[in-house]
C-alpha cells in the first residue's frame, strides 16, 4: 500500500466512512486510494465551502467526523468560512489537504503557500505528513484529536510524495476518548445555588439539546428550583418539537437579550458559554448577563452535560416531577394571498415530517418559521453557529448523507444562499432527499437594519445598492433547474403550501423560491 492507501484504510478503520471531496492534481493518489477502498463513500462537491459545510452537517447528525479532501492552500481557504462555523459548532472534522511533494516546495511553484499557517486559523490540530511510512499514524492521530475536548477540526496536510510513497502496511485504529463527567463538588455547588432562593438561569447547550432525557431533567430542575431555562442563541443542533421540552433561546438583538437576562442573580451553565453580543454597538454592553450575575459552570463544553443534569436532578430529589412538554400543533392558519414569513412558517410547521432535519440559515426572514416549528413534529434543528454566511444549502448535504431515512429541509436566506449555491448540484448528483426553501426578500435585510442602527438614516443610492439583491432579481427556481434540481416559485401562502406538500412527497431534491419581496 502507498501512503494514501494506508491513510484511507486508517480512516475507514477509525469509523470515518464519508469523504466530501473537491480534488486537484496533487491529490490524485488519494483519489486512487478512495477509488480502491469500498469502505468509504465519496461525495463530489463543486466548491470547497460546500465540502466543509457538508462535513459539519454530517458531524452534527452522527457525532462522528467526515473527511474533506481539499486542494492546497486555495482549496483550504475556500473551505474556510464553513470551517469557521464547524469550529464554532465544535464539530469533529478531518481535512485532508493535498500539497506539493516535500522536495518541490522550495521551488515556490505558483500554487505554493503557507498551508499550515492557514490551517491553524480553524484547526485544533494541524500536521504536515513528513514520510509515507508515517501517514497511517498521522491519520489515526487526526481522528483522535478531532474527538478531543468539545470536538474540533484536524487538518492533515499530505505532500504528494507522502501519498505516493510506500506506506506501512498496518493501518491504525483510533477511538473516541471518553467524555469527562463533572465532579460531585461541582454538582453539589449547583444544588446549593438552586436552594439559595436567588433568581437563577439554567443555560443549557451542547449534548443536552440533543437528548430528550436531558431536557426533561433540565425542566424538572427548573420547576423544582423555580429557575428559568434557556439555550444559547445559536446551537449546533437542537432536537425539538411537540412532545418535548421546549427551550427558548437568548435573543440575538442586544436590547432584547439584556432585557430578558437583567433579572437573574445567578446563572448555571451546562455545556454553554456565557452569552455575549454578536457584534459591538456604540454604548451597548458586550456581556449580556447583568454585571453582578454570579456564574457557575456545571459542565464545560466537551464535558457530559446530560450526565451532570441527571445527577443534579437526582440530588435535588426532583426526578418525580413531570416535565412540561410542548403540545404538538398541526392546524396553524396559512393565510392566502401575498406570502408572509408567518404563512411560510405555519405551512412548514403543519407539514413538517416526523423526524426531519431543518438546516436553518433563514436569518431575518426565517425567524417566524423557527418559532412555529417549536410545536411541530419532532425534528432536529441545525443552526448557523459562527456567523459565516453560506452554510444552509451545503450543510443539508451532510445531514442527508448522515441520515438517509430522514427528510432534510433548508431554510435559506437568499443573500447567504448565493455564497454556496453550488451545493444544489450535489443534491442532484447524490439524489438527496432535501427540500430547500429560499427566503427571497431581494435584500441583505439584516444589513438594512444595521445601517439604520449605526445612524445612516437616509441611505443614498450607494448604500441602498450595497444592501439590495434586486436589479437584477435572482431567479432561484431557474438556478435550481440549471443544476438538475426541481425548482418552483411561490408568491402566495396557498401556492407555497401546495408546493411544499408536493416537494415533501417527492423523493430527491426540490427547491422552492419563497418570494417575500412584496413585504
Amino acid at each position: 500500500m502507498n501512503g494514501a492507501e494506508t491513510l484511507v484504510q486508517t480512516l475507514v478503520d477509525s469509523g470515518v466512512t464519508v469523504c466530501f471531496a473537491n480534488p486537484g492534481t496533487s491529490e490524485m493518489h488519494f483519489v486512487g486510494a478512495l477509488d480502491g477502498n469500498p469502505g468509504i463513500r465519496c461525495v463530489l462537491c463543486l466548491f470547497e465551502g460546500v465540502a466543509s459545510a457538508a462535513a459539519d452537517g454530517y458531524a452534527r447528525m452522527t457525532g462522528a467526523p467526515a473527511a474533506t479532501l481539499l486542494h492546497l492552500g486555495p482549496g483550504l481557504a475556500n473551505a474556510g468560512a464553513n470551517l469557521h462555523n464547524a469550529m464554532r459548532a465544535a464539530s469533529p472534522l478531518i481535512n485532508i489537504v493535498g500539497d506539493h511533494a516535500t522536495y518541490h516546495r522550495y521551488l515556490d511553484a505558483p500554487l505554493t503557500s503557507d498551508i499550515e499557517g492557514l490551517a491553524r486559523t480553524w484547526s485544533a490540530w494541524t500536521r504536515t505528513a513528513r514520510d509515507a511510512r508515517m501517514v497511517a499514524g498521522d491519520a489515526a492521530e487526526a481522528v483522535r484529536r478531532a474527538y478531543e475536548g468539545r470536538g474540533g477540526i484536524s487538518t492533515l496536510i499530505l505532500p504528494a510524495d507522502t501519498a505516493w510513497g510506500a506506506g506501512q502496511d498496518a493501518a491504525m485504529l483510533s477511538q473516541p476518548p471518553p467524555v469527562p463527567i463533572p465532579s460531585s463538588a461541582c454538582i453539589e455547588n449547583a444544588v446549593a445555588m438552586l436552594r439559595n432562593g436567588k433568581r437563577t438561569l439554567l443555560l443549557v447547550g451542547g449534548r443536552a439539546l440533543r437528548s430528550a432525557d436531558a431536557l426533561d431533567d433540565a425542566d424538572r430542575i427548573a420547576q423544582a428550583a423555580d429557575a428559568d431555562l434557556l439555550a444559547p442563541n445559536s446551537n449546533a443542533r437542537m432536537d425539538r418539537g411537540g412532545g418535548r421540552v421546549s427551550i427558548s433561546r437568548v435573543p440575538y438583538v442586544v436590547d432584547e437579550a439584556t432585557d430578558m437576562l437583567k433579572g437573574f442573580n445567578q446563572c448555571i451553565c451546562v455545556e454553554a458559554d456565557t452569552p455575549v453580543a454578536f457584534f459591538a454597538y456604540p454604548g451597548k454592553p458586550g456581556h449580556l448577563l447583568a454585571p453582578d450575575c454570579e456564574i457557575h459552570v456545571l459542565a464545560h463544553p466537551g464535558e457530559d452535560g446530560p450526565a451532570a443534569l441527571a445527577k443534579l436532578c437526582s440530588l435535588l430529589g426532583s426526578g418525580h416531577i413531570e416535565p412540561r412538554h410542548a403540545a404538538r400543533e398541526s392546524n396553524r392558519p396559512v393565510p392566502p394571498g401575498a406570502l408572509s414569513p408567518v404563512a411560510l412558517g405555519n405551512a412548514l410547521a403543519n407539514r413538517l415530517p416526523e423526524n426531519s432535519i431543518i438546516c436553518d440559515e433563514g436569518l431575518t426572514a426565517g425567524m417566524a418559521a423557527t418559532a412555529a416549528t417549536a410545536t411541530a413534529a419532532p425534528h432536529s434543528l441545525l443552526q448557523l453557529t459562527g456567523g459565516a454566511i453560506g452554510i444552509g444549502l451545503p450543510m443539508a448535504i451532510g445531514a442527508a448523507v448522515a441520515c438517509p431515512g430522514r427528510k432534510v429541509i433548508v431554510l435559506q436566506a437568499d443573500g447567504s444562499g448565493m455564497y454556496t449555491n453550488q451545493a444544489l448540484w450535489t443534491y442532484a448528483r447524490e439524489k438527496l432527499d432535501i427540500v430547500a426553501i429560499v427566503l427571497s426578500n431581494g435584500s441583505y435585510a439584516s444589513l438594512r437594519r444595521e445601517l439604520h442602527n449605526v445612524g445612516v438614516l437616509n441611505p443614498g443610492p450607494k448604500a441602498l445598492g450595497m444592501t439590495s439583491l434586486g436589479d437584477p432579481d435572482i431567479d432561484w427556481a431557474l438556478m435550481a433547474r440549471s443544476m438538475g434540481v426541481h425548482g418552483e416559485k411561490a408568491e402566495t401562502g396557498e401556492a407555497f403550501d401546495r408546493l411544499l406538500a408536493e416537494a415533501l412527497d417527492r423523493s430527491g431534491p426540490s427547491l422552492i423560491e419563497a418570494n417575500l419581496s412584496s413585504l
Copy 2:
C-alpha cells in the same frame, strides 16, 4: 469625519477610486462613508472571491489598486483563493476587512477569529487599526505598500470602533514609489553573455509583456544575438495580437517544457522567475532549465524591465533591427458540425474586437483559443497566475470596470467557473460589456489526465465520478438567465460563430455555453 470617512477620503486622494464590496454588520460605518463620498465607485459582489478577483483584474488593467471590502475572518477566507492569484500576479490591491470593536474581541463572540494570521497568508502588508485618529495614516501606508516591490496586497483590518470613532480631519496622500532601474553593470553583464556565442534564452515577463516597445526591443536583441525569446507559462497580462511581436510561453507540461529548454546554455531573465514545474511528478525534475544553464537576472520582478531592455538593445547596437511582428489573420476556418476547441478558437480569433481584453481560465479546453488569438486583433490577455481556480468570470468584472470602452471576453472552463458563478449577477447589476464563453466539457478534464499520469489506468466509478461534472449536466445558459445575464448554448461551430457575433454586437453581458462534451 469619523475614522471610516477619513479612510475613504485617503483612498480617494491616493487614487483608489473603486471598491469591490461585500459588506456585513461590522462594516456599516464604512458603507456609510462610501455612500457619502462621490470619489469612489462601489461594486457589490455576492461572494468575496468575486470581489478579490475583480480587484485583481482591475489592477492588471490599470496598474493601480482597487479596494475590497470584506466581512471579518470568514469574508477574508472567501476572498483567499483569488487573493492567492492576485499575489502571484503581483497585483497591487487593498483589502479593508471589518472586525469587531477593539474592546469586543476578548469576548470571543461567534464571528471572532485570527484575522491578522489569516491575512498574512496572502498579504505583503497587514495592519489592524488601533485608533480612529490613526486610520487615515493607516490607509495611506496601505496604498504605499501595495505599490512596493513587484506590487502586492495590503490588508487593513478595521475594528468597528476605529471606523465609528472621530478621525483626524486631514486625509493623507500616498504616491506610488518609483520603479527601480537595473544597474549598468547588470546590463553590461547581459551584453557580454549575448556576445559569448552560447545558446541563450531571453525570458521576458512582467511590464515588458504590456509594452509593444519593450517587446520590439526584446525581439531586436534576440535577432542580434541569435537568442530565443520566451515568456513564463502564466502571466498577469500580455498585450498581444497581430502587428506585435508574438512571444511563445514555456509549456505547462513538464516533458514539453524540459524538451524545449534543454538546449540553452544560459538564460537572461527580465522580470521573470526561472521556470519550475507547476506540480511535482515522480522521477521528473522541478527546475525546467537544464541543470548547468547559467542564469543572469537582468531585471528582477518589480524592476523596470522595459528600461533595461531598451538600454540593452542600445548597448548591443541593435536599435535599427526591424522587429518581427505577427501577421494579423482574420479568415481562419470555422468547421461546421460538432463544436471543437479549434472551431471555437478560430471563431473567437476571427471576431475578436480591436483592443479587447481576454480573461483566460479556459484550461485544457481553452488552449486552442489562446493559440489562435496570437494573430487576432491586438488585445490584452489576462491569465490564471496562481493556479487557484475560479478567477475567470470575476476577474472580467475588474477589467470591465477599469476599461469601460473595451470589450471583455472570458474563456472559462466549466468546473472552475462553478467556483465563482455569482460573478454573473454583478455583470447584470453593473451592465458590464462582457461576453463569457463557458467551455463545457462536462468534466475536470485536467484531472482525468493527471489520474492517468499517476498510474490510475483503469479508474473505478468513484474516481470517474470525482472527475466528472455530468449527472447532472450543468445548464450554464439557464444559470446565466437566473442571474439576469443573456444566456445561450452552442453545440456546433456555426452556432457558436453566430452567437458570438450576436453577443459581441450586444451591449451589456452575455454568456455562451460552448458545448464541447461530444468530443
